[in-house]
Symmetry: C2
Subunit: 301 residues, 2 copies
């Protein structure tokens, strides 16, 4: 019997509560125990009936779980792992959902000697936070990347992959460091840029903040969605994936300076060539089912 | 009788064709004549029945129009204006829909001496182009900014404002140079950054383009929508609003470097403070009806 019958989730924010809902919807025989550091969140999760049990502490939640998933900010992983270490059942698999994998793998391995650790990252989310923001279909057709260390048995990786497939995701296996370089491009840099441009726009002298808000439909409003993402989660991502983010930021800045020079020199050809190339990337993303074809993301007009 | 009874639109892309549809839907008594430089577009507009007449040339389209709206890329305004100059009816108002206003005001004034010129900018759009991409409700609850020169009679400004109100927009009047600084923030810089980051991401060594596409749901895909906007239109915007864009780009780069340093020094407090502040801006944009409250822009999951 490969499938997990007892699962624990620690942390019931957007991702943890979405996973709980997906388990309820698609794996109804799984016995699900959850916990969260916040008493308010625990009470809300109980009221929403998202799990079979809502434990007061992380340790109590994991006691007989075959799979434990840590859905807390990346910077909190080590502490939570230490907190549950003594309560884990023999043979339990510990995984997570964090956006950075090399650091999490190191932190969990250090805190949980002898435990099977398989980090995971479902590449999915919205700008909302908390247990009310979750929904069961969040992972449908999104990729979940597993980054097992070499010593983990292949069947354990397959087993965890099957679990994510069962809740709707597509599964890929990757080296943790490569994951961190890929996600620096497809997620971390976009968030950093969005936070930065929204910060810049709200702090100018010549243009007031109320003008920025009023005329945001010109493109700016798109950036504010990403820049409304959870502040603590994202603080931890940048601190934990520092090297890859800084390296990529250097590359981005180079490219931006080249574009700046094209504008200064009125080099329309360079601009048009880039703007034509980028259009094709959008097409590929839509063709591969990673975004909607509807204009303006299907926003209502 | 203040309202225009005969309107001409030159250029039937996303904006021109949306305006034609909005006029048809909301101002059915207006006699609408349109044209476009492309024979294919003219044929498509005729097949879609978007206007009373589809003229072969811009001059023929404007002959008896009381209001002429140029919906062409900003860099093409001067040539189109020269093209229609001899055919304009006495008292005709010439306006436009371009994203840059000081340059357009200067170009139209130079090309059309003695003509009433009132530049306008409906702050609305999608990433799609062409006559099939337009829709009648594009301007609903979006702002349309008029930038009349001081010598234009106030009643003419009101008359044009009433026209835009009738097709669903909210109207604001502003100095052309101030418009260009405001839109540099809310539209031009966001587009430039989006084009730049998509260009960077598609041209790396450590991460393949197929990985970028596959894992784009981490945030990157949002930028690809804006970076799929019309290449010629946007080339012209950056060339025509060079000073304001370069000044703002300098400011953005400063802020980004500060953020880069915060990451390098593991200064989590600075990161979290910014990420918390930007979340509030999103809230204001939603409260003012300039974006949807639905998570992830209401994308289907």
């Amino acid at each position: 019997m490969l499938a997990y019958s007892r699962v624990a989730i620690i942390g019931m924010g957007l991702i943890g509560s979405s996973l709980a809902r997906a388990i309820r919807a698609r794996l109804p025989t799984v016995r699900l125990t959850v916990s969260d550091a916040s008493p308010e969140v625990r009470a809300r999760v109980a009221a929403l009936d998202l799990a079979d049990d809502v434990a007061d502490g992380a340790g109590a939640a994991v006691i007989d779980a075959e799979l434990v998933i840590l859905a807390v900010p990346v910077g909190a992983m080590a502490a939570v792992a230490r907190d549950i270490a003594a309560d884990l059942a023999p043979g339990a698999v510990v995984s997570d959902v964090g956006s950075v994998k090399a650091r999490v793998l190191a932190d969990l391995t250090d805190a949980l000697p002898g435990v099977i650790v398989i980090p995971a990252h479902p590449v999915a989310g919205t700008e909302k936070s908390g247990p009310d923001a979750g929904f069961a279909s969040l992972f449908a057709d999104r990729w979940c990347i597993l980054t097992p260390p070499p010593q983990v048995d292949a069947w354990q990786v397959t087993r965890l992959g099957d679990f994510w497939t069962a809740v709707g995701a597509r599964v890929e296996v990757m080296d943790a460091h490569h994951h961190d370089r890929v996600l620096a491009v497809t997620s971390h840099l976009p968030h950093l840029i969005a936070y930065s441009i929204v910060g810049t726009a709200s702090d100018l002298e010549a243009v007031t903040q109320s003008e920025v808000i009023k005329y945001s439909a010109g493109g700016f409003r798109d950036f504010t969605r990403i820049a409304a993402s959870d502040p603590v989660m994202w603080r931890d991502v940048f601190l934990a994936n520092r090297e890859a983010v800084l390296e990529l930021l250097g590359r981005f800045t180079e490219d931006l300076v080249a574009l700046q020079r094209a504008i200064r020199w009125s080099d329309g050809e360079t601009l048009e060539a880039l703007f034509t190339r980028t259009r094709a990337i959008r097409r590929s993303i839509i063709d591969q089912g990673q975004d909607t074809e509807e204009p303006d993301f299907g926003r209502k007009h």
